[in-house]
């Protein structure tokens, strides 16, 4: 099966390996193959978003102008965490009033405005929204840098469990917020919330109780939603691409992500190794540099360095399953235009 016949491609990898650029190059390649493709990213470099011309329109899907030879369409979207989270709540609240009440809660404000730090959750949630709209043949999700794959895959579950009914078993379903506050942080209260008030002060715990009261009732729908997220991530029509760099420490991290992916049973479609060797490395005109030339000492250092590096990369590739497709990308020039992305896309023959 061609990778571009998937419905969703998730790009994973260590930080600082060109994951976003690779995601966009994959999307461009898909568009060249005639697909209507959306690429989503949460924290793009300014340069990349200005190359795509999507820098001023957070959280909107924007069509990117591509050369007329490209048969399909390329769309881009910068995920904006705060809006994504608000939309998430709006989707599940029964009435607007309940949602508005929640938006005013100090804790909610804090949760949504600092969500840029829990990018895993917002990335997946943003993915769910565009999947439901069914506008695209293919959606490519560029993930935030991850240390641990579990953090990424468990992020939605962690967030949903906040909204889960188990909370209401603890704080009780019937009482109003004021009597709950008395019960849990009044004189002699011994429970966890009483302890929490020792850490954070009473005011915070009061806010917390009001917060839980205002999300009461959202839990069932969110539970169903949580199942569909899991189904989607495991689905056969979702493929994973591992992006890394030919540097030793990045390869070690990549091995770890690879192992976690396999143990979860997710299908790795492709590994992309960026910046493996300079473009001159495979050229045949190197004998032109004579040992007495001024350039020779530097050439020799570079050549030895990249030859050693190639062996390290070979070793990495050997540990992968022999059916896994690996693409080694040379060190390309910096991305300043769609043309530069296109030269990266040319290497992604899949």
């Amino acid at each position: 099966m061609n990778i571009f016949d998937k419905k969703i491609i998730v790009c994973l990898g260590p930080g600082g390996v060109g994951k976003t650029t690779t995601s966009v190059a994959l999307a461009l390649k898909a568009a060249q193959e005639g697909k209507k493709c959306l690429v989503m990213t949460i924290d793009p470099s300014r340069r990349l978003s200005s190359v795509l011309n999507i820098d001023k329109v957070s959280n909107l899907e924007v069509q990117v102008a591509v050369p007329s030879l490209v048969k399909g369409q390329l769309w881009g979207k910068i995920i904006e965490p705060e809006t994504t989270f608000k939309n998430f709540v709006l989707k599940f609240s029964n009435d607007k009033e309940q949602a508005e009440k929640l938006f005013k809660n100090v804790l909610f404000k804090q949760l949504s405005s600092t969500l840029k730090d829990s990018q895993d959750f917002t990335s997946i949630e943003a993915l769910m929204t565009v999947v439901e709209n069914k506008k695209y043949d293919l959606i490519i999700l560029d993930t935030p840098p991850i240390q641990n794959l579990t953090d990424f895959f468990d992020a939605p579950e962690n967030m949903y469990s906040l909204f889960n009914s188990a909370f209401f078993k603890i704080i009780g379903q019937t009482s109003d917020s004021q009597s709950l506050i008395k019960k849990f942080i009044g004189k002699g209260a011994q429970g966890a919330l009483g302890l929490l008030s020792k850490v954070t002060g009473k005011q915070f715990v009061e806010e917390l109780i009001i917060f839980f009261k205002s999300i009461e009732g959202l839990s069932l729908q969110i539970k169903n939603h949580s199942h569909s997220v899991n189904d989607l991530l495991k689905s056969k029509s979702t493929g994973y691409v591992l992006v890394t760099e030919g540097e030793r420490s990045k390869l070690i991290e990549a091995t770890d992500i690879y192992d976690q992916l396999s143990s979860r049973g997710y299908a790795l479609e492709l590994s992309v190794l960026n910046r493996c060797f300079p473009t001159w490395f495979n050229e045949k005109d190197q004998e032109k540099i004579k040992p007495d030339s001024k350039a020779f000492p530097v050439f020799n250092k570079e050549n030895t360095f990249y030859s050693e590096k190639e062996k390290i990369i070979d070793k990495f590739c050997q540990q992968l399953d022999e059916n896994d497709k690996v693409i080694r990308i040379p060190i390309l020039k910096e991305i300043n235009s769609l043309n530069d992305i296109s030269s990266l896309a040319d290497y992604l023959k899949v």
Binding site: G16, T114, D117, M159, F167, G201, Q203, F204, T279, N336
Partner: protein
């Protein structure tokens, strides 16, 4: 005592630089603690204290240098224990299903407790360390700002009480130039330079923090070379603009340290070579 944070865009060599700086300072007789944020450890590929066999040589820790990999759960327990004092209460707190869930989603709590631990010496909290320098191999730029924003974030959510006061003190330490130094690493390439300029500007504007800038992986110039082949053309094209970028940052940043490209593939060898580069300037 001094506290040093090392940051910079992903992949610029933060861990190598932080490790080299720690070794260099330890060599001069200072007691140094080198810290990374867990759960994953990079230090285990550099230093031989871990017993992990990575298939290549590692560096023996000098006697006055210790490394630590901080683990979120453990640091969080320490943090909460400061308020609840009694072990039995701490256990009750963490056993509560409600707390378990809150902790998992509380935004920036991880960042906050790491900062709490890093600055605890200055706030006379917890076990007092016996180090001259604590060097923290920290997050890359975007995440680093989240780290610095975490105390204010918690202060906005918790508007009174012990936690609020503690966050205020953490922020005070972090923005005190007599206590904390910041090293920001950058590559002499166009995009990293643009992003670094933005990063140091944000640090200055929002936190009044000034940084020490380090250009890493600077390649030597190839002068008076007349022969033309793909190597020479490519190398000249790549190095041509290096000085332009370095000068650009020097305009806003008077002290800039340059570290050459190290032609080594082993992380430990890279660190050893960077140590030699640091010696003359310290």
């Amino acid at each position: 005592m001094g506290l040093i944070f090392v940051s910079g865009k992903g992949g610029v060599g933060k861990t190598s630089f932080a490790s080299a700086l720690a070794i260099q300072k330890a060599k001069t007789g200072q007691k140094v603690l080198l810290v990374e944020f867990g759960p994953k450890s990079q230090f285990k590929y550099i230093f031989d204290s871990s017993g992990v066999d990575s298939g290549y040589d590692k560096i023996s820790l000098p006697p006055s240098l210790k490394t630590e990999t901080w683990n979120y759960q453990e640091v969080l327990v320490e943090f909460i224990a400061h308020y609840l004092k009694l072990k039995v209460l701490v256990k009750k707190f963490f056993d509560s299903p409600l707390m378990k869930r809150l902790i998992k989603v509380a935004p920036s709590l991880r960042e906050l407790v790491y900062l709490g631990k890093a600055t605890s010496q200055y706030r006379n909290i917890g076990k007092q360390y016996d180090y001259d320098e604590i060097i923290i191999d920290s997050y890359s730029t975007g995440h680093f700002l989240a780290l610095l924003n975490s105390p204010q974030g918690m202060m906005d959510a918790v508007q009174k009480g012990a936690m609020h006061d503690q966050c205020r003190d953490i922020l005070k330490v972090m923005t005190d130039p007599d206590k904390v130094e910041y090293f920001v690493l950058c590559l002499p390439e166009q995009l990293p330079v643009v992003e670094t300029l933005e990063f140091i500007e944000t640090l200055k504007k929002e936190f009044s923090i000034t940084v020490k800038l380090v250009f890493n992986k600077v390649k030597e110039p190839l002068v008076k070379v007349t022969s033309k082949n793909s190597f020479v053309t490519n190398y000249l094209a790549n190095t041509k603009n290096q000085n332009v970028y370095i000068d650009k940052l020097k305009k806003v940043q008077p002290s800039v340290l340059e570290i050459p490209f190290i032609y080594e593939n082993d992380p430990a060898q890279v660190v050893a070579s960077v140590v030699n580069q640091l010696e003359p300037i310290q």
